[in-house]
Amino acid sequence: MKIKYLSLLCLILLLSSCKNETQLYKIEGQQIPVSDSIPINEEIDAFIKPYRTHINKDLDSTLAYCVKTYSKNDGHLNTAIGNFMADVVFEQGDPVFYSRTGKHMDMVLLNHGGIRSILSKGKVTARNAYELMPFDNSIVVVELRGEQVIELTNYLATRKKAHPISKLNLKVDKDFNIQSALINGEPITKEKTYYVATNDYLYNGGSHMDFFQTNVGMHKLDYKIRNSLIDYFSKVDTINPVIDDRFIQIN
């Protein structure tokens, strides 16, 4: 009898120890750099190659010639490269806007931070457009009352930064008080509606350009900033923008 009990006890012990299930007891974590000491997988590389060749051929064919190297850091309140980008948006965007609405753009405003690279002296390719503007932002035209355009000029004066502009002429004194603000050579009228081209990032609240929020209307051109640059590069032979008097400080 006792053997029976002992056996039973053993069986219970055995069963209970068998119930000891597989459990997690240790975790090890590490980060492995994908460095150039790892050999390239030839099969993968061969698969990528036709795609890479196609893109490189497309991106690296010469579209124009740039006379010097331009950086967004060259210039105080306006820069050659910023002027170039804002002027391209006007030149390329306005015909599209006019054909759809019968109206012309009054001015362009982009953001200084949106110039993502330098433009180097020498041949200009589509790759330069991708470097200058890697994001897929598109041109939009915002209808603003004169009051908001005045806010826009105040924004530029208080930020003291070379945000790219086109067709707006702004002069500030040594304390950055606005001395004159002209569009099409005329002072801004509060009651008038202005067509201000920008990109959808800024329209949607980027760089805190809040004056875009109080608008009368908005028109999407479905035209990417980058594509406007590529189209312009394809159209002209030489890129030679300059720093001018569109936004300056006077004493």
Binding site: C10, T22, Q23, L24, G29, Q31, V34
Partner: protein
Amino acid sequence: MKRRLFIQKSAAATALVSLGSMGLQSFSSNPKKITILHTNDVHSHIDAFGPEDGRNANQGGVARRANLINSIREENPNTLLLDAGDIFQGTPYFNYYGGELEFKLMSMLKYDLATIGNHDFDNGIDGLYAQLPHAKFNFVSANYDFSNTIMDGQVKPYQTFVKDGIKIGVFGLGIELDGLVDSALSKETKYLDPIERSQDMTRILKEDEQCQLIICLSHLGYHYRDSEVKIDDLKLAKATQDIDLIIGGHTHTFLKKPTVVKNKIGLNTLVNQVGCYGINLGKIDFYFDDRHNKSADGVSILV
């Protein structure tokens, strides 16, 4: 009588001894190792950075990552390869081919699962849908409701895997789209509360699916210091339970090592993210056996 008792005793002793040795033989510790490999925010970086690059010269590249993954898989076939979103956007490969090459290469590298990042909507939800045939892996998202979109039925909240007898559950989480993705692109995708959905997921994966390892593939972002309300991976880890590992993305956070967070019930959850652009590969090894007692000894974390 006396003799009989002796026999009984010795028989019992023999039984115990033999049981003891049997125990040692049949209850071997049965060790198992599951390796989780992960990437996030690769952003179409198919080629390695060039030698001239100011920050990441000669780093990354899919062809190198492939060899690294292959060698890890050779060492341990019980490996899962996961991506935490923002596969798209960042190089002309995306602008030219719309994500086709990204998905094809991830399929060749045998990715097991991915979640959806905000930039994966950059060609619209239709653009994402159009590339799905090129992906031989699935997408999970527990907090994007796609039922009124073309993606309906294409994305599951979670997926389970069995590797070496260990059941692993992986669920996905995406970031709030409002203010980040143009509604013209995400269309009628609905964003649901990540914490509530995580609580549902962990209950289903632990109780219904009986998973022994639960992983969250998150594109919420690592940590938003300035906001109490904006959910991130660290806040998610604290507010939930039963998640062993949160693999993060979105914030392009380079961590020296995975972060250990005490969860809602005081147990450890691991949070990891490996920067961006395929510069790093994350590797987390989970060791199992039936000798250690998790509830008594806890889980040791070596990071």
